[in-house]
Amino acid sequence: MPLQPTSLRNLHLLLRGTPRFVQNQFHTQWQIQSRSQSTASSVNPIEVSHFNALASSWWDPHGSSRLLHLMNPLRHDFIRSCHASQPTPPGSNLRFLDIGCGGGIFAESAARLPSTASVTAVDPSPEVLAVAKAHARRDPALQGKLTYLNTSIEGLPRPRGPDEQYDVLSLFEVIEHITHPADFLDACAQFVKPGGWIVMSTIARTWTSWLTTKVVAEDVVGIVPKGTHDWEKYINEEELRGYFLRERGWNSPRVMGVVYVPGLGWTRVKGSEKVGNYFFGIRKDE
């Protein structure tokens, strides 16, 4: 499913309604980021300690991560739909890089798929990663296919060629914790194979605001003169995609909205990205 016009309308409203807020937010973050560029990590330390506290209940099917467990199958459905949209869908032997893997819910599941060659999963929290590693020992089939690394993306060695790049880079329930998304996208790009995908989602209902306030606004706000009253003409779907994706070497954005319905579980609802949770995928130019 391509970007829905509805979300763009939201974006439009948001930009028109709070342009100053959006700009200010980015300026501040940008400054912080540039000041600490040398030791820069995309990771916010407060977030890390928050996840440490969650670690023990990560794999409790009735614990606080239940919704994530229930959502996990949809991540695979979404990735499959991304792959199916390619002119020639990829076969097997896929390499995954899972950023912010947490207890490993997605990483384990991706490693179990027969079409997966390997999964590298990273998380900056040592406690959470210890939980992930201990849990993976329960499934002998994961051995050799799943590697956990206690690092952020910045700590990963740069791939030296397409062989070391990944077919799928996943960012599940991570983006809202990233301080500077546009740079982050650029950082991710080095790890993605030409023709590979970044897939992401959020459960925190902030996807719209992330896309609108961060990724797009950063770019668009930067190029659109302040105070212009011509937003309507300027921001249409085509141009948006054209700018913030094409300029950065990405194409084929896809969105899937899902809603949690008690008693039914996670269900895909067309147009629900307006109100609910999203999956978002973009493909790196070949």
Partner: protein, 489 residues
């Protein structure tokens, strides 16, 4: 790599349990000399090779997504007799079940029905159900387009399990460990490489140990797997036995090609006569243990008379004949002269009973508290045992198996560990309430008709003049017979 003799082809190892792990474990076996035999790892270990267990394995092996799972079947009986099941067309095994069209559709889908000897299967298109006390009948007003359609298929359980085994053999890849009893099930342990502390390890009488990612209990009403999982099972005994026998009739039935199933509700329980191919029928007579024992002592001639009487005489006459130690044939001949009945609404006369086919089984209702545990799933009679009056026990098991196979398929295609409770939840959610409702309705049917006198009988005969007014009950029979589900409320 050398594949252990007990495990399967390399293709098999392409399942969840990677060849590396197998190698790893075998290496360990050498280095940790202190520990006892290390278990072999399997994705699915199914205990029980009855209709439920075999259907599950056929389903898993026939679906592409689950075909690479590493699977073992443990069955205490030798399966050769089942595999080579063969009888002349004039003989039938006494354990027969009616299969609903939806069970047959499922069996076709997994490619097993094609291996079931169709000459030994009998469909029926009509049902006659009536109350032995009041004579009231349930009139089945099948919608025009349903009339004449198959309500269910009578089939010997052995013809089914034999077909399933042939299908499993054809597909290959299931490690069949038959003639081996489960001696012990315990949780695995933690080693340097793996943590198998959540994996059930099944020890067999032959000495093998199998660690199961998912342990399936298809091991019947006294399920050792259920006991291992600590899953309680509630219910009661009906104080009834089901007497079964293979009967020869005076002809192929009143409908000719179109066959009829008969069931009469007697105060002691329902007696059912279900058509088999040709001039044969199978009997399921639910009655008190004492009367069941009495029936089994009779000569063939008197047994036949009792069966004919059960569909013709009043419960009072029948009760009297149960007090006779012999001579029922003469008694029936005499009493028949004084009883009117509509020939065409009752089965034809029984003229023979197959030698050695009279047997009886205690009837009970049991329902497990849940069908799933961590790395455990129960299917078929291990999960629930139902009164046979609606012919649903085996069909419920087929419904379980179809649901569990779908659940496993979903888990595999989404990278879930198929054993964990989270992955199994959809199976429990889909089947538990449905089975529970069916168990309850069938139980109430039994109780409704198992009262001989007192306030409920007149009620049964008028209001329920019966039973026609009992819309839900009738609907139940129609829906269940047609396998269209539990739409009974």
């Amino acid at each position: 790599m050398k594949i252990p003799s007990t495990s399967l082809s390399t293709r098999q190892l392409g399942g969840y349990v990677c060849s590396g792990c197998t190698r790893q474990l075998r290496r360990q076996r050498r280095s940790y000399a202190t520990s006892t035999v290390n278990p072999d790892l399997y994705d699915v270990v199914c205990v029980g090779g009855g209709p439920a267990g075999l259907s599950l394995l056929a389903a898993l092996r026939s679906q592409p997504a689950t075909a690479n799972l590493k699977i073992a079947l443990v069955e205490s009986q030798r399966l050769d007799a089942t595999r080579n099941f063969q009888l002349p067309p004039t003989q039938f095994s006494n354990r027969c079940s009616s299969l609903t069209p939806s069970s047959v559709r499922f069996l076709e889908q997994v490619g097993a029905w094609q291996h079931v000897d169709q000459k030994r299967v009998q469909s029926y298109e009509e049902m006659q159900v009536w109350d032995g006390v009041t004579g009231a009948r349930i009139e089945f007003d099948w919608p025009a387009e349903k009339r004449g359609q198959t309500i269910a298929y009578m089939n010997e359980n052995l013809n089914l399990t034999s077909g399933l085994l042939k299908r499993i053999d054809e597909l290959g890849g299931v490690e069949v460990l038959d003639g081996q009893k489960v001696e012990d099930i315990a949780l695995g342990s933690e080693t340097e490489d793996f943590d198998l502390s959540s994996w059930p390890v099944v020890s067999l009488s032959g000495g093998r140990k199998l660690a199961a990612r998912l342990l399936v209990g298809a091991d019947g009403a006294n399920s050792p797997v259920r006991a291992f999982a600590g899953i309680g099972s509630r219910g009661w005994d009906y104080e009834r036995h089901g007497v079964v026998a293979t009967l020869q009739m005076e002809g192929p039935g009143w409908g000719g090609e179109s066959k009829i199933a008969y069931q009469r509700f007697l105060p002691t329980g329902p007696v059912a006569m279900l058509p088999l191919p040709g001039d044969y029928s199978t009997l399921v007579w639910s009655t008190t243990p004492a009367l069941a024992a009495h029936l089994k002592t009779l000569s063939p001639k008197d047994f036949i008379a009792m069966v004919n009487a059960a569909f013709r005489l009043s419960p009072v006459d029948l009760a009297y004949m149960h007090t006779q130690s012999d001579g029922q044939a003469d008694e029936l001949a005499w009493r028949s002269q004084h009883t009117n009945f509509d020939q065409h609404r009752i089965p034809q006369q029984v003229i023979g009973v197959q030698e050695g086919s009279i047997a009886s089984f205690p009837l009970k209702l049991r329902h497990a508290d849940t069908y799933i545990g961590e790395r455990v799933a129960l299917v078929g009679d291990a999960a629930h045992t139902i009164h046979p009056l609606a012919g649903q026990g085996l069909n419920q098991g087929q419904g379980d198996v179809e649901s569990l196979a779908n659940t496993i398929q979903y888990a595999v295609t989404h990278g879930q560990d198929i054993g964990v409770r989270m992955s199994l939840e959809p199976y429990n959610a889909e089947r538990y309430a449905a089975n529970n409702m069916l168990l309850g309705v069938v139980d109430k049917l039994h109780k409704l008709y198992a009262v001989e006198s007192g306030p409920i009988v007149p009620l049964r005969s008028i209001g329920l003049r019966a039973v026609n007014a009992l819309g839900p009950v009738k609907q139940f029979f129609m829906d269940q017979a047609a396998g269209t589900g539990v739409k009974i409320l």
